[in-house]
Symmetry: C2
Subunit: 183 residues, 2 copies
């Protein structure tokens, strides 16, 4: 019985973490993000499933304040990066793509890894927000130059992370009309 | 102090769920999946972030045994569907795409939702595996016909779910070479 309760608690805790994640844009600029939390988040990212187990990714971890400021100024939806403790730039690694940059399988893999980043951050008490680079060539080129990326890497998104000033309320997006049952 | 321990337990439980998820293909054909678990999993799916909050998705929930068998016979990487309790077919809804089927933003959104499905299933003691349909026109057409889908829906993947016969060991995919620090 006690074990049953523990198991129910475990389920509730995990599901709640998924349901209450929000896109956070108001970071407390005075607080950095601990290295061990960044490490845990990267492990979570790399635990995502990938097509034919190619793991076609590379992660830039940016804590340099001047680069965070540059990201916030250069990108249209990334203003909050200047107040973030860290930004993870999720990239594809062309050498591990199955069929070139247009196959979209690497896009699926990197998106699953990105969702893991958001969920792990939320679990650790951090806010985060997924700001897209791909498929916008202008944004991708800027970030590639800014970080001095190797040619093989394809910038995919920027995820600023930090402690939030004002946590915001999760939105219930449940929509029964988006489901069809085939029984 | 007790609160600190609770909070550490919470973190550990959520992170562990992300790190120990595996792709499961050996389902116990004698066990169905409870409706309330399917409901929780769909809520998790719809909690994923989407570009400009378009929520461009539709979910087919297949429990009909003959359709599960058809899926397993028609698709190259979906043999296990015949033993699954349920398969969720994740689809795009063209009416909610920003810039047409080739923009890939809907692919990013649906991939984040799919990762939530896998993680929620794992939390609830279920195995699951992401089998890609998009971008393979032959697989997409077959599933579209099989389920009698509306024209607006774009089949994206099939995720069979069920109780597993033999749980398999999580793989540690941590790769420090896939990280660059910019301090």
């Amino acid at each position: 019985m006690e074990k049953d309760n523990d198991s129910k608690d475990r389920e509730r805790i995990i599901i709640e973490n998924i349901l209450t994640r929000t896109s956070d844009r108001l970071f407390d600029a005075s607080k950095g993000v601990e290295d061990d939390k960044v490490g845990t988040i990267l492990r979570a990212a790399m635990s995502a499933p990938t097509g034919v187990n190619r793991q076609p990714w590379h992660f830039y971890v940016v804590t340099d304040k001047s680069i965070l400021l540059e990201l916030s100024e250069a990108l249209p939806y990334c203003k909050m990066a200047k107040d973030a403790g860290v930004a993870i730039v999720v990239c594809g690694d062309r050498r591990k793509f199955l069929e070139g940059v247009d196959d979209t399988l690497w896009v699926q893999d990197l998106s699953a890894a990105s969702e893991n980043i958001l969920l792990a951050a939320h679990a650790l008490g951090l806010g985060s927000v997924w700001t897209a680079l791909y498929p916008h060539p202008d944004r991708m080129e800027k970030v590639k130059g800014m970080l001095g990326m190797e040619e093989e890497f394809v910038p995919f998104n920027v995820i600023p992370l930090g402690y939030v000033r004002t946590p915001h309320k999760p939105i219930d997006k449940w929509n029964p009309e988006a489901v069809t049952y085939i029984k």
